[in-house]
Amino acid sequence: MTVTVMVVDDHPIWREGVARDLGERGLEVVATAPDAGAAVRIAPAVRPQVVLMDLNLGETSGVDAIAGIVEKLPDTRVLVLSASGEHADVLEALKAGATGYLVKSASAEELVDAVRRTAAGVPVFTPGLAGLVLGEYRRLAQRPAGEPAVPALTERETEVLRLVAKGLTAKQIGERLVLSHRTVESHVQNTLRKLQLHNRSQLVRYAIEQGLAND
């Protein structure tokens, strides 16, 4: 089955270029959008399997769009395709529900491969992304005691994530730790899921505290 994709980017040259690259390689681009508002409006109508999302959308933020899309379309996966140098934004995007991140300098082949893997539910982790996630878990662990339980990595998950951050492929990691590459991928996926769950519970807690959840 053809993978359906929506491309969200504020720059027309880039947007059309990416859409054509994907189309030429057998993926179906069902929609494009230039900003967060349009992305959240259009996505439910076309129900893409994968949303390819830039984070820097002019005046609007891709992170807001991701939260909106994930809420309306739980089966749609979001792959962040963004420039390097937007580290904090990338982390926020992951917590909001994105399942992968690719830098814009990636080749068309890498991009298509990443989109297919995202559609199949496999997280797309660059070493840079693993470094951000590791850092975030460390930061959470350093929070003063008394805060509600924060997610923590198991020893194995930490080990896997560190090797990803050091540039090893899933196959290399599997060889080193004597695991199947599927197990490696599921460890990586878990680190992400825990972070997203924590983010969501925090949002709910915030909403309750602010009295927004009463209605």
């Binding site: 720059h11 270029g17 690259d21 420039a83 140098g85 660059t126 470094g131």
Partner: protein
């Protein structure tokens, strides 16, 4: 229509931080002049020379007017220092007219000399202009003039001297603190302006140049051949330009600390991937500079021994009591004993200089290498609780 006026006033006027002090000096001078004229009027009939007293008071009034003109507004701002020195001379001169006007009997009865408390204004002016040294020196001059003019040094005079010294010290200190605070505010404002400008530029460049460079990089790679080389160049420039725009985070802050993560991210390129936390990893600037040098040395080593296009990965991690940096490549690994051999032959190998730098920081350097494993350097720097500032 009601509109709120823009607020420009701040606690400290950054460009002219001493204005409140100068205004205070003038107010003090006018109030003490009025007091001195009143007290002198009371003693007038007993003076040896009432006409002389009138003349001196007129001179004080005129000089106060001159000071007000000089110390207020911008007209003579640059000449306030010399004016304060002139003030010191004039005030001392006025005190020295005392033996001509005030009788010994009056002085014995604790009557003030000429000028009296009005002259202490010169100490305040010198303290504002020349800080603590100015205030103390001026207090010494006025104290000497006081003792000479009254030709005595009783408890009354010693009391006055004490107060003069205290005033010189206090106002001098206030002047120093105000200048420093203003300098700090000025620097903060300049940094903020620079950051805002960088952000504005970053937006403009992101919307245009970077997108085109990234696009050229991608298309070039697909077309292959000569176009691929052009594309690779465009890609490198894209990364370099982006790093330049975001490298503001790697500046040294007011406390002499620098973000290690941002500093090392500047080393990222097409072949070097840098992974670090999203939040700043702040360490003393000197430590960051050394670590930067060590990582650069390790990366240069990869380029020399594995290949100019060989990929390398840098990982920065904050552990509980240490900061750990790993530099890894996927090369053939370093044969066992080669590093030691190089050192024995007197060639200062990379390892020696890296180990030296890391050792100086109180850290450790470990090497993990072997066929099929590549080479991984692990730099570990202990971080005491006082060294790392918790990021919020």
């Amino acid at each position: 229509m009601f509109r709120r006026a823009p607020v420009h006033a701040t606690l400290i006027d950054v460009e002219r931080p001493l204005e409140p002090l100068w205004r205070g000096v003038v107010v003090y001078r006018v109030l003490t002049l009025v007091t001195v004229i009143g007290v002198s009027a009371f003693h007038m009939t007993d003076y040896a020379s009432p006409a002389g007293a009138g003349l001196v008071l007129a001179g004080m009034t005129a000089w106060t007017a001159v000071l007000a003109r000089g110390y207020l507004g911008e007209a003579f701002e640059a000449r306030r220092g010399p004016l304060a020195l002139a003030d010191l001379v004039v005030s001392a001169g006025i005190m020295l007219t005392t033996p001509l006007i005030v009788t010994d009997a009056q002085l014995d009865a604790s009557a003030p000399g000429m000028g009296s408390i009005w002259t202490s204004g010169a100490v305040l002016a010198c303290a504002v202009a020349y800080r603590i040294p100015g205030g103390v020196a001026a207090a010494a001059v006025i104290s000497a003039a006081l003792v000479v003019a009254k030709a005595r040094a009783t408890l009354t005079e010693l009391n006055d001297i004490q107060i003069l010294m205290l005033a010189g010290l206090t106002v001098g200190f206030a002047s120093l603190v105000l200048r420093r605070a203003a300098e700090r505010v000025r620097r903060a404002v300049a940094e903020e302006a620079a950051a805002a400008e960088r952000e504005r530029l970053a937006r403009a460049v992101h919307d245009g140049v970077l997108q085109v460079l990234a696009h050229v990089g991608r298309r070039g790679a697909e077309l292959g051949g000569a176009a691929a080389k052009l594309g690779a160049l465009a890609g490198e420039q894209e990364v370099a330009l982006r790093t330049l725009l975001t490298s503001g985070n790697a500046q040294v802050d007011a406390e002499g600390r620098r973000d290690l993560a941002a500093t090392l991210r500047a080393l990222a390129s097409g072949r070097v991937s840098v992974s670090a936390p999203a939040h700043p990893v702040e360490l003393p600037a000197a430590t960051v500079a050394e670590l930067d040098a060590v990582v650069r040395a390790a990366l240069a080593n990869v380029e020399r021994h594995v290949g100019a296009d060989a990929p390398a990965w840098v990982l920065v991690e904050e552990l509980d009591d240490a900061v750990e940096i790993s530099v890894r490549d996927d090369g053939p690994g370093i044969p066992a004993g080669r590093l030691a051999e190089a050192e024995e032959q007197g060639r200062l190998g990379v390892s020696r200089s890296m180990r030296g730098r890391v050792g100086d920081l109180g850290g450790t350097l470990d090497l993990d290498t072997g066929p099929g494993r590549g080479t991984e350097w692990t730099i570990r720097i202990p971080v005491g609780s006082g060294q790392r500032r918790e990021s919020v």
